[in-house]
Structures are given as C-alpha cells and as structure tokens.
Amino acid sequence: MATLSVALTGNPNTGKSTIFNELTGARQKIGNWPGVTVDKKVGYTRYKDRAISIVDLPGTYSVNARSPEEQIVIDYLMNNKIDLVMDVVDSSNIERNLFLTVQLLEKGIPLLIDLNMQDEAERRGVHIDVHKLEDAIGMPVVTTVGRSKKSTQKLLDVFTSTVMSKYQPSQIVKDHIAKVEAIEAGVGTEEEKREAIIEARYALIDQIMAQAVDLSNVGASKSEKIDHYLANGFLALPIFLLILYAVFQITFTWIGQPIADWLADLITVDFYDWAGEALTAAGVEDWMVSLVTDGIIAGVGAVLSFVPLIFVLFFCLSFLDGTGYMARIAFLMDPIMRACGLTGKGVMPLMMGFGCGVPAVMGARALDSEKDRMTSILVTPFLTCGAKLPIMALFAAMFFPDNAANVVFAMYIIGVVMAIVAAKLLGGTIFKGKGSTFLLELPPYRIPDMKTVLLETWDKGKGYLVKAGTIIFAASVFIWFLSSYNFDGPTEEMSESFLATLGGWMSSLFYLQGFATWEAGAAIISGILAKETVVSTIGILYGAGDVDTDEIEDTAETMMQTGMFTAFTSLSAFTFMVFSQLYTPCVTALGTIKKEAGGWKWMFFSAGYQFAIAWVVALLVYQIGSLLGFA
C-alpha cells in the first residue's frame, strides 16, 4: 500500500487540531489559546488505498526557533521527508496568517495552503479569490470550514491528488526570497536586518492581499461587539468574577451538590448498610466486613460521591472554553500577571491547573523564557485542581451549609492569590530576569459544540473515576489496615493504631492552626499520595456510613454524627481547607515537577516551600480568625 506523509502547520487557533481530529478520528484537545498543542501529534488514516500519516504541529506565529513550539515546527519540517506540508490559514484573519506562510516559503518549503474557517470569513465580509491567491503565491490553495465531512473529504482528495513538485513559488515570492537573502548577506546590525526582513515580508503580504483579497465589506465583527462589553477595561473583571461565581453556584448550590448529596446517601448509607448486612448474613467474618464497609465503601464512596460536582464544574468550564471566553481571561489577567512577575501567556498553563496540576506543569513548556517556565511550574500546584475539590466540597457542605458555594469560591481565590504572590516572590528572588512578551490572538466567540464540551467533560471526569477505582481503592485498604492494626495486632481503638501514631506525629505541627488531631494529621499525610485520599481517609476515620440510617438526611449530617464536628470548629475547618488548598502537591505532580524542572532539587523545593507557605497561611487564618472572634 502506498503511503503519504502530511504535516499540518499554521498559526495557533486556526483549526488545525479540529482538522487533524476530523481526518484521523483522534480526540485531541482543541484549545483557544497558544500552547494547547505543545508537542506534535501523529495520527493515521486510510483513503483510496493509501495509508496517510498526519502530523499536527504546534501552532506558531513564526519559525524563528525562539520558543519550544517554533523549534519543534522548524526541526520537523527541515529534518523529515514530508510529502505534503499544509499551512492552515484562518481565512477571516488572512493578512496576519500569511506572515507565517511567507516565512515557510522563505525556507524553501512547498505548501498546500488551506483557507480554513471560510464560513467565518464570509460572515466577516472577507472575500478571497482562490485562483488569484494561487497565482500570487504559486502554491495550491484549498478551502475548508473546519468541522465538516465535506471539508474532510475534500482534503483527503487533495492530499492524494496533489503533486507538490509541480508547483513553484510565484515571481513575487521568488523576488522576495532574493531580497531577504540580500538583506541577510548585507551590512548592518542583526536588529536592523531583522526589521528590514519583517518590512519586506509585510510588503509581500500587501502585494498578495491586493491581488487576491477583498476587505471592502469588512465591518466590526460580532465578537468585537461582544468584547466591547466583556473585555472592557472597567467591566471585564467584575463580569469575569460574576461568571465564575455563577459557575460555583451551579456546581455547589443549584445542580451539582443536590446530586452529590443523593449519591453520598446512596453509597455511604444505603449501599454501606446493604453490603454490611449481606456480608454478615453470608457468614463473612467481622474483620473482613469491616474492611469492605469501613475501609473500601467508606473510603472510595466518600470520593465517588463528589463525582457529580466534578462533572458539573468541568462541564461549565469546558462550555466557557468552547465559547472563546477563557482566552479573554488571559488577556484580562496579563497586566495583573505582569505586575507579579508572570506574563499573560503564563495564565494558560495555570488555567489547566484548575483541572489537574500534572498537565498544567507540563503546559509550562510552552513558555518562552526560563524564568516564566520555572515560575509557572512552581506556582501551579497552589491552584484548586479537581482532586482538591472533594475536600473543599466536603468541608464547605458540612461546616458552611448556607454558604458552601461562597466558601469554595473563596478557596479558589485564595489559591489564585497565593499563586500570584508566590510568582512575585520567586521572580524577585530565585528567578530574576526578563519575562517574555505576550502575544495572544483572541478567538471569535462561538456557540460551543456540545459534543466537544461533553467529550471534554467526560474525559476529565473519567480520570477522576479511574483514580477512585485504583489509587483511592488501594489507599482505602491501606488506610483501613493502618487504622485497624498496631504492633500487637488488630485493635478496637483507632486511637491506638499505626495510623494514629503517624497522624499524631504530623498533627503536632498544627496546634497553632487549630486542627491538631491525629485524624487530621493522617488525612494530610495521605493527601500527598493523591488529594482525594484526604476525603477517603476522613471517610474511613470518621466512619461515614457507620450510623443509623433513619437519622440521616445527607452526607454532612452523617459526618456530623460520627465525630467531625467534635474534631473541627468552623474556623479550624476553614483553616484545614486553606492548608489542604496550599500544601505539598500530590506525588504525581511532584514527579512531573522533577521531570519538567530538571531534577530532584526542584521537586523537594516545591514540596517543602508549599508546605511551609501553607503552614504559615493556615496559622495566620486561624490566629487572625480567633482574634476576630470566629470559632
């Protein structure tokens, strides 16, 4: 079978990943910001008896090899035998997109130019004469509309029928290349040469635009009109906070929490009782019944009951991402981030941190400067990842039932503020230097594709379910063992168990924070394994299901009856939430930090400085709260 290799290149947010997914059937993350496709992706398809390998390269604005994305693109295009390089161009923004096209032509790379998002260009009044564009550049041109079977079919036809060796750059392109070579060989400083080359590129783009593109009907786009309000200097931040507040209300008050309460009752009360009775009736010995019910069902169940919250929250965030609004947040945060030592571009990996710290730490690769990259890696774990959400939801529902959404919202804000403060501290001490400039293209507002939103929600939630069934399950068994045994064998009193000893050592650090109980200490230790384990440990230690079902109304009351209210006051519970929000990342995130930051030193630094900061902030919260009369 004949094979064909195709590479997709282009600016960020031109729909490359969508085309790649449509062509290969892959479910690649499609984002509205630079850095989503940090590495190249390879997919395969078959068409007309030809096996086609398709590489999706990271989106870049240039190929000067100044950022990791640019390096990947130029290395791949220059060092591999590729049958066809397709330059995906956002038709509605063709002038800026041609800047990359011209650079690729300068490097002698023959291109198939894909005028993507033709529908949006038409709506904006951008009219491109395809034949004139082909003549102006000298390369073949195809038009697509991104996610459409017709476009996919058309591209596959073009891939299998186009012979790139037949095409030569047009005379104006050849003249431009000669001019650039002359500038490079001429006299002058590097800066002067660079400016002269940029000027020459824009001169060529102007010529191409004049020949093939009619912009006379372009007016203010719908997105520009919306941005007049949403990205307005005065209204942007309040609107953003309002939207975020609504997301939290939906998750923790209106939709997510009621379902979570129902599920919690079902698992940790009904199923717990049923399993206990069934196993006892089957003649299973008490210790094994305890392992299954007090260990596995209470531990895993405590975590599983938060699945609805995770799904609702991720659905809302994926929906917002799909609308194009999330990119505005980076734009909005740029001045704040810049004042604190990060660039707006650093917001993007940070925002991934609300899902999980691991990809967020990896996403920092997209940052150009070492200072930005290291700072981003080290501050990301302060944010509230999905795994911390159950801790927040559990304590908020129990101790602040009337203000659960507000309290969780406050935790998210505390995480963001601490990340910014830490970035400022690190930037002023360890990582001094100049950050990179931030160039962000705001995507147009779109009605999100519900299939994409649901798939994204499912993918994120699925990771959580897998963790519940694997690491949380194993940790629950382990925690149950540690809480049921000591050196003398089985113990009836948990306070005499291995876990009580370990938790006691840890809790001695938290007298000034108001939660110096061995149970809290044990939960904190287990949270380093995976943050959800804090909840499963609490579920096991306080026996979430070990109560009379007639007296149960919801999870919070269940917990109350089994001792949590005696262990925590509202203030110490809030302090515990703050500490959990900020302390040492889980082992997976630590491993990623070691890999990305380049060594054990940074991993231990991250673990240590986050614990120290969490300890100090928790101390301040508890002591100031006590002075103000909170209890």
Binding site: R27, V36, G283, K460, K462, G463, T470
Partner: protein, 58 residues
C-alpha cells in the same frame, strides 16, 4: 469460606489497582484530568491510536 471468597475479590481488585498505579509510575503517566485536560499525548498515552494494519506499513 465466605471470608476467603470476599478476601479473594478484594485481593484481585487490589492487584489491578496496584498494577495500574505501578504502570502509571513506570511510564511516567497519570490519570489526572483526562487526555483533553493535558492536550493529548504530551503527558500520556492518548495520542492518536495507530491502527495495527497501518502502523506496520508506516
């Protein structure tokens, strides 16, 4: 006997759970927030699946 059977189920569950955790550890991957959360392929094995019949032929 019932205790033994229940214990066997728990052990099997533990075996698969720990195997998953060990494999994640070996390959430097994590379940985190799913493939889309990590931009597909950059942190774990969620790059496009290569069909067997195409992978060998390149």
């Amino acid at each position: 006997m019932a205790t033994f059977i229940t214990g066997a189920f728990v052990c099997v569950g533990l075996y698969f759970a720990l195997r998953h955790v060990y494999r994640n550890f070996r390959s430097g991957t994590s379940d985190c927030a799913g493939c889309r959360g990590c931009s597909g392929g950059s942190c774990h094995h969620c790059a496009a699946e290569i069909p067997d019949n195409l992978a060998r032929k390149g």
